[in-house]
């Protein structure tokens, strides 16, 4: 990446402004991630804006129903470039626990109509998982990861 692009990418990655787009249960874990204990503000992503015109990233947290799908698409279209989408929770990834033969009401995953950048599995994912998702997104934007990876085992 050219040096100016690198600087811009660094700036964008470390000040991601999410949109308050909590649809269902995952919204509460998103709120918890922004609240006192887990504190998204450390990563620059605390400013949740209600208006799509002021956001960078849309965190689709919750089940997308067929009635809601046009509204989600409209909101995504209203966001200015550059923009990213994080699919948080099983429902946004693939419909979650609400997929059964004969289901009539939900869209099985945000990637059916949106370009999703990061998938965060869980039902609901822990706030730490959301923070990890944001860090992965930062890595995707800048090309390198500033924070250490959690080693398991």
């Amino acid at each position: 990446m050219a040096p100016l692009d690198q600087v811009l990418a660094l700036g964008r990655a470390n000040s991601l402004w999410p949109m308050t787009f909590g649809l269902a249960c995952c919204a509460i874990e998103m709120m918890a991630a922004g609240a006192s204990r887990f504190d998204l503000a450390r990563f620059g992503a605390e400013v949740f804006r209600p208006s799509p015109r002021q956001c960078d990233v849309m965190i689709v947290a919750g089940t997308i129903s067929k009635k809601m799908e046009p509204a989600v698409k409209t909101l995504y279209d209203q966001m200015p470039e550059p923009k990213w989408v994080i699919a948080m929770g099983n429902c946004a990834i693939s419909g979650g626990p609400f997929v059964f033969p004969g289901q009539y009401g939900i869209v099985e995953g945000a990637d059916k109509f949106l370009p999703v950048d990061i998938y965060i599995p869980g039902c609901p994912p822990r706030p730490e998982a959301l923070i990890e998702g944001i860090l992965e997104l930062e890595e995707k934007i800048t090309g390198s990861r500033r924070w250490p990876r959690v080693q398991c085992g």
């Binding site: 067929k66 009635k67 004969g102 289901q103 009539y104 009401g105």
Partner: protein, 179 residues
């Protein structure tokens, strides 16, 4: 006591249904030297007044009255006069009988007394009069039942979809619904 009063008030509205019961006729005593016979099970139709006071610990409600669709309005008037509040309205699809049952749940604030009003209507063209002018909360409950079962509540001000999309033309909780 709330239960006795409401039972008396609703007794006149209860329908009488023909239901099938299974009767066991014991075998006649055997003649000398013969083996005893087996009891015989016979199905017969009896008339049953559809007002029950079930065991609360087992069922969870105190009074169960089945009325005709037209009498639902009269029952609602009696109940609101006796200060009952509406808990919920729902439907049950009895596909084998070709009927849809609409079930109304009422309860009292002062003493515990749960009253269930049921009515059955034909499945191909289900129609029940609305009680939304008596109980305003019934407005949304009836819209929801219409969404899920297609029951038309005659006299309802606005039976547009509540939980389904505005242009939905299907009724998902019917047993023969295919997505």
């Amino acid at each position: 006591m709330g239960l006795a009063k409401i039972k008396e008030a609703l007794a006149g509205l209860a329908v009488t249904d023909e239901i099938e019961v299974v009767k066991t006729i014991p075998a006649p005593p055997p003649a000398e030297g013969e083996a005893p016979g087996k009891p015989v099970e016979v199905k017969e139709k009896v008339e049953q007044n559809m007002l029950f006071t079930p065991d609360y610990a087992k069922k969870g409600y105190h009074l169960d009255v089945k009325v005709t669709p037209q009498d639902v309005v009269t029952a609602a008037r009696i109940l609101i006069a006796q200060e009952f509040f509406l808990e919920s309205i729902t439907g049950v699809d009895w596909m084998k009988d070709g009927q849809i049952e609409v079930v109304y749940d009422f309860n009292l604030w002062q003493t515990l007394c749960r009253v269930v009003i049921r009515t059955r209507t034909d499945r191909t063209n289900p129609e029940v009069p609305t009680i939304s002018d008596i109980y305003s909360g019934a407005n949304w409950h009836e819209r929801e039942t219409h969404d899920f079962f297609g029951v038309t509540f005659t006299g309802h001000p606005d039976l547009s979809p509540l939980l389904l999309p505005e242009d939905a033309d299907f009724h998902p909780l019917l047993k023969d619904f295919k997505a």
